[in-house]
């Protein structure tokens, strides 16, 4: 069911704005709308939000890795509402440590670079400050490729200069050149001589390197200490996450769209009629001085859709929403879709063992993760569908892939029978869709449309089906022909001229191929059920092959466990996807349009932490 909704305008004094907005956010029942007049304020919390984002990014390497499927940490509501001073202090302490690490890292990098530069010159026996020009001579450092060293040597000798090879590695010789001051080095450059200028340092190179090494070592030790400190801080609690979410909530409060005058603030939005009381109570709690006006949605207005279904059906809402959100004023298809999704999912899994595993893993995931939102709904859908999986498994006798006492028949042995069965499921599913449309049409007073567009097709499909049963073959043919004639003569009724009407009818009749491909599409139920069954059987076979000695049994247990879990995961993925597809393309095409906008309340919605709900919740 789609909840009836009202447009709400709240007018209050400017000084009450913050309290009002906080109260609205806490109650989480109003969808604030961005109107033409409303402005979004610049938020003072934006800076803090960015700071926390940066902090979270920075401490990521220090936070201990969470186990897979870890539970989201919880905080009390009052803890969440106000930023605690100690948390802030801890955050700044972590920021300080991070900055410290960054500075130390930069200094270290510079030192290491210097060491790298100096290393080849370790054997230089004159102090660094004496390099360069003296009164008559210059001491110059440089490199020459080893290959050209001989030529270089000759050039040095013929040029009346002196040279010392300080060190060499595989490719290069490091050379101290002593030349007369202002002597041109152009000739030497031909041998690949490259002058090297070291940073302005003093003293012996060897000592300088030793000093630097001592310094980096010390800094490394300090850094390790700082890292350890940071790791301890980051590991205890989830301060950064909490602060981040607090400031994000704050940011959302500050930037909530509202129209303003000098003295007053106008906040507008949607509220479901059944939640007006809660919303109003929240507003009155925040301020006594305010005016609340309600009105119905105007025609042509884009009204958000708030769905109200029972506990079981509501788990399937996310599946419809993924396709298209029901429009306000349209039908909510979840009530008819959910049972079908449930049944088809079961038929696609079709195994008692896997159904049982679905319960085990579903319950485990819920216990461990305490998931919210869509993920929670999907797990619930799997849990619910475990029932149909087990029932289908018993009917078709499948237990972890092994066939055992089927009540109906075994799909593996009587594939054609199962194929017909799935097609019948398909016809029933499609008929359900058509019936929903018939009801819709009749409610809208379009009885003829229902006869022409839906009942006619139901006659054709039913008639064709009956043709396959010898006893009622003629009746089936007659029914199908009647349906066909209705389509042929009425489908073009919207067209203006007679030619258009005739062509319209013929083209519509061609739609029969569409209906048949739709029905054929349900054969995927058989295919997926068989795939799960046979792969499970293969796993059993593989495990059976290694049995014999005691270690063989050990290995076979591993194969059983890993194989069946793998098959279960694959089967679940396929069943989820293809069940969705059958709903979207084969079922919804018959009656459902959607194109709505989901009601999304202005609320506290932390992702990194959970706020403990006072009133239970799901």
């Amino acid at each position: 069911m789609i909840a009836s909704i009202k447009y709400m305008s709240i007018l209050c004094m400017k000084e009450d704005r913050d309290r009002l907005v906080a109260s609205l956010q806490k109650c989480g029942e109003v969808m604030v709308e961005d109107t033409d007049e409303s402005v979004r304020n610049a938020a003072s919390s934006a800076d803090m939000l960015r700071r926390m984002e940066k902090l979270r990014e920075g401490i990521k390497p220090f936070v201990p890795k969470k186990p897979l499927f870890a539970e989201i940490p919880q905080v009390e509501e009052h803890e969440f509402e106000t930023v605690s001073e100690s948390d802030l202090q801890k955050a700044s302490e972590m920021e300080r440590l991070l900055a410290d690490i960054a500075i130390k890292k930069a200094a270290d990098a510079a030192d290491n670079e210097l060491i790298r530069q100096l290393k080849p010159w370790a054997n230089l026996n004159i102090p660094l400050e004496e390099l360069g020009d003296s009164e008559y001579a210059s001491f110059i450092l440089g490199t020459v490729p080893l290959k050209r060293l001989e030529g270089f040597k000759n050039a040095v000798i013929s040029g009346v200069m002196g040279m010392d090879i300080i060190s060499d590695d595989e490719k290069t010789a490091y050379i101290l050149l002593s030349v007369i001051k202002n002597e041109s080095l152009a000739e030497l450059a031909e041998y690949g001589f490259e002058r090297i200028t070291l940073p302005p340092l003093k003293g012996n190179v060897r000592d300088t390197i030793a000093d630097l090494e001592v310094r980096t070592e010390k800094s490394n030790k300090e850094m390790a200490a700082v890292r350890e400190k940071l790791a301890v801080l980051a590991a205890e609690g989830n301060t950064a996450d909490l602060l981040y979410e607090q400031y994000r909530a704050d940011y959302e409060r500050e930037t909530v769209p509202a129209a303003e005058t000098n003295e007053t603030v106008l906040i507008e939005g949607w509220v479901p009629e059944d939640r007006i009381e809660i919303a109003e109570k929240a507003i009155r709690q925040a301020t006594e001085v305010c005016d609340i006006i309600y009105r119905d949605p105007l025609p042509g207005e884009s009204v958000p859709t708030s769905l109200r279904s029972g506990k079981a059906v509501s788990q399937f809402e996310s599946i419809t929403n993924m396709f298209s959100v029901p429009s306000y004023g349209g039908t909510d298809p979840n009530k008819v879709m959910a049972p079908w999704y449930w049944i088809i999912f079961g038929l696609m899994m079709c195994d008692v063992g896997y159904g049982a595993l679905m319960i085990v893993f579903g319950v485990l995931l819920k216990k461990l993760m305490k998931p919210k939102g869509t993920i929670n709904q999907i797990i619930n859908v799997i849990l619910l569908s475990s029932v149909t999986s087990i029932i289908a498994g018993v009917l078709f006798g499948s237990y972890f892939g092994e066939v055992w006492n089927p009540i109906l028949f075994s799909p593996l042995k009587e594939t054609t029978k199962m194929l017909i069965f799935t097609m019948l499921i398909g016809v029933a599913h499609i008929f359900t869709g058509l019936i929903v449309k018939i009801i819709e049409n009749i409610r809208a007073g379009k009885v003829f449309d229902a006869v022409f567009d839906q009942i006619s097709w139901m006659l054709i499909i039913a008639g064709f089906g009956l043709i396959f049963i010898p006893a009622v073959k003629t009746i089936g043919m007659i029914i199908a022909v009647i349906g066909g004639i209705i389509v042929l003569f009425t489908a073009g009724r919207a067209k203006k001229n007679i030619f258009g009407k005739a062509v319209g009818g013929l083209v519509a009749l061609y739609g029969i191929s569409g209906y048949f491909s739709d029905i054929l599409s349900y054969s995927r139920i058989l295919a997926l059920g068989l795939a799960t069954g046979v792969v499970g059987m293969v796993m059993n076979m593989l495990a059976g092959m290694v049995q014999g000695p005691w270690w063989g049994y050990m290995i076979s247990i591993v194969i059983y466990v890993v194989g069946h879990i793998f098959n279960l995961a694959l089967g679940l993925l396929s069943a989820y996807v293809h069940d969705c597809r059958l709903q979207y393309i084969e079922f919804y095409s018959k009656f459902y349009e959607g194109n709505g906008r989901l009601f999304k309340a202005f609320s506290l919605e932390p992702k990194l932490i959970n706020i403990k709900q006072q009133n239970g919740g799901n």
Binding site: M322, T415, R524, A527, V535, L570, V577, C580, R581
Partner: protein, 148 residues
């Protein structure tokens, strides 16, 4: 050639070709997934579902190969062997081509999800459309096998 050998070749081709199709398909989708995940790591879960979709052809091919293996006996005549070979072909060929094609669709859907995370359901549907033909081929192979 003996019928047994022909049937074994058929089963082998079925698992191999459909497996190749899935491998290429999952690779194509995986590349797209890696690209989008590098920008938006949060979407990884949604994208992984899309990437896994072209993987089913390989399973179907494997399934048919196993079903054929169950029917192979020593000393089959050539016509029996060719029958099994023929039953393997729909899944082998359609598995190869549809796996690759589905991979490309999955990659496109992954890119779409990267830009509009809410559209992942639509992307899944688009990708599942391609799989229909692999499923039809699987069915054809199974039904042909039941007639042998």
């Amino acid at each position: 050639m003996s019928g047994t050998a022909i049937a074994i070749i058929g089963a082998g081709l079925c698992a191999a070709l459909a497996g190749c199709g899935s491998a290429v398909g999952v690779m194509t989708a995986g590349k797209a997934n890696a690209g989008v995940t590098s920008e938006k790591p949060d979407l990884f879960g949604k994208l992984l579902v899309l990437q896994a979709l072209p993987g089913t052809q390989g399973i179907y091919g494997f399934l048919i190969a196993i079903l054929i293996l169950a029917k192979i006996t020593v000393g089959m005549d050539a016509s029996q062997g060719w029958s099994l070979f023929g039953a393997a072909m729909p899944m082998a060929i359609a598995g190869l081509v549809s796996g690759i094609a589905q991979g490309k669709t999955a990659a496109a859907a992954i890119h779409m999800t990267g830009k509009q995370p809410d559209a992942s359901g639509k992307g899944i549907t688009m990708t599942a459309m391609v799989e229909t033909y692999a499923i039809l081929a699987l069915l054809t192979s199974i039904l042909l096998l039941t007639k042998i």
